[in-house]
Symmetry: C2
């Protein structure tokens, strides 16, 4: 595995593989099984695998955890090598943002809900860095986790709006034994919080069951899931939403796909989870677009 910290070098390398497929896994590092499952899939489906590690300052708000975001470069390099990454693109902040940008990219649809509601500008930072990374790595397929389902929806809109020549695969959330979605932020939970945190995935399963039973309307189902989370999560419920996916518009009987999404604030971390369902309310483990 070669570690590359220069944009120019990375572009020179990817240009040499133009007849081969490049699978790309963009990450912010502190790799866990979620990231590694994306890299393994990229390894199975492509000639070349590129992973990037870059904690992107542009997608953190002023009062968010940019400085405290967990980092472990040595562990990341070891894990990336183990799963067969060919090139680890690991640039500095100065390499990615050498000076103030002359232009801005801004999401104007699907961002004032879910995590976007409490993180103004977050997805603007995401689409900016993803555009840069796509131009640097020039992947055939880019892999994202469905745990960040709103991010996957935003990437979908970006690729569609700007005609990026990249296929996007959003893969299944990887979970702990008790169902808790793997996340770099889980390490900030207290023992009591960690024990209660499987409440998020249980709330999603409850929502799915209620949808299947058709005993309540969307609004009532959302309320029931919210009450369940309030009573069991040991955290403060940030949101419970039932929306059409990937448009993130209001769900209706004619919606082809739905998302049930939850977010809970704990003392030192905010956790999110979701299910994507088809119109028979079966879970979709992955999406490709």
């Amino acid at each position: 595995m070669k570690i590359v910290d220069s944009i120019e070098e990375m572009q020179t390398i990817t240009n040499t593989y133009c007849n081969q497929t490049i699978g790309f896994v963009p990450t912010m590092g502190f790799l866990h099984e979620g990231h590694l499952s994306l890299a393994k899939r990229a390894r199975a489906e492509n000639d070349i695998v590129v992973m990037s590690i870059f904690v992107n300052p542009l997608q953190f708000g002023e009062n968010e955890d940019f400085d405290d975001y967990p980092r472990d470069a040595e562990m990341d390099m070891r894990l990336a090598k183990e799963v067969g990454v060919d090139y680890l693109f690991f640039p500095t902040k100065e390499e990615m943002y050498p000076s103030k940008l002359s232009m801005e990219m801004k999401m104007v649809e699907g961002v004032n809900i879910l995590c976007g509601a409490s993180r103004p500008g977050h997805f603007d930072g995401v689409i900016t860095v993803v555009s840069k990374l796509f131009h640097i790595v020039q992947p055939s397929i880019a892999y994202f986790g469905l745990k960040d389902a709103q991010q996957a929806a935003v990437i979908h809109a970006l690729v569609k709006d700007l005609n990026f020549p990249v296929q996007i695969k959003a893969l299944a959330t990887i979970r702990e034994v008790d169902g808790l979605a793997k996340s770099s932020r889980n390490k900030y939970l207290s023992q009591k919080e960690r024990e209660a945190a499987s409440s998020l995935v249980k709330a999603l399963t409850l929502g799915q069951q209620l949808l299947r039973n058709k005993s309540a309307n969307f609004h009532e189902i959302r309320d029931k899931v919210q009450v369940f989370l309030q009573e069991t999560s040991e955290g403060i419920v940030d949101y419970v939403e039932l929306l059409e996916y990937p448009t993130l518009q209001a769900a209706s009987a004619s919606s082809e796909q739905l998302i049930i999404a939850v977010a809970v604030k704990y003392s030192k971390a905010r956790l999110i989870d979701n299910y994507i369902l088809d119109n028979s309310f079966n879970r979709l483990d992955e999406l490709s677009f």
Copy 2:
């Protein structure tokens, strides 16, 4: 020459040429010698030449000439074929903008001066369509005319900020016998206006001479050029600017490159012209970045 109106087909075609260089000439059609000189240069320097013709609604203001912008598809196809274009990408508005965009691109530097000052949002539309076209055509080198020097500066900033894997060449303005810069909008001049319109290039030459003589400071030179244009152009002077290039910041003694730029409003057309000068005040005929 093959005419392509589908984004998907164009992307499929350009993917097959990944080991060859693709020269790209984006235009709004109504081709004149300026466009054709770009295409000829692309032909000389690349394996494959793609030209696009698309009058981009996003870069026209509400009161601008989108509907009246001159169009002649048959002439354009004939001329493109004559100069050796391999693929003419000629999409409809619906193909390029099938629905409202979910995101916006916005220039925040170098746009509140020159043509940007009187065309709010114009360069936002330019960088959006150029981003789309670059993703569709995936060129090795893209060719622009230096007549739209602010546009070339904006494309320079876009490519640098977002790390597009594209080389940009901005080539010399092509002129009529009397020096008037070729433009699709020249046809809207009355006979009297057309005769006076060489005043623009004469004003630029005057500015260059005054800079060389060092007999006046930047501010005084700008004023003298303005007076000359007012007295000779038979139009209304929109602006005369002397700036650093391509930053479009205030010119100073330490500026490596300068631009003298002028714009004059005639009854049915607004004409622009400029000289790019090095720090010895010699004209630069082309720029590459």
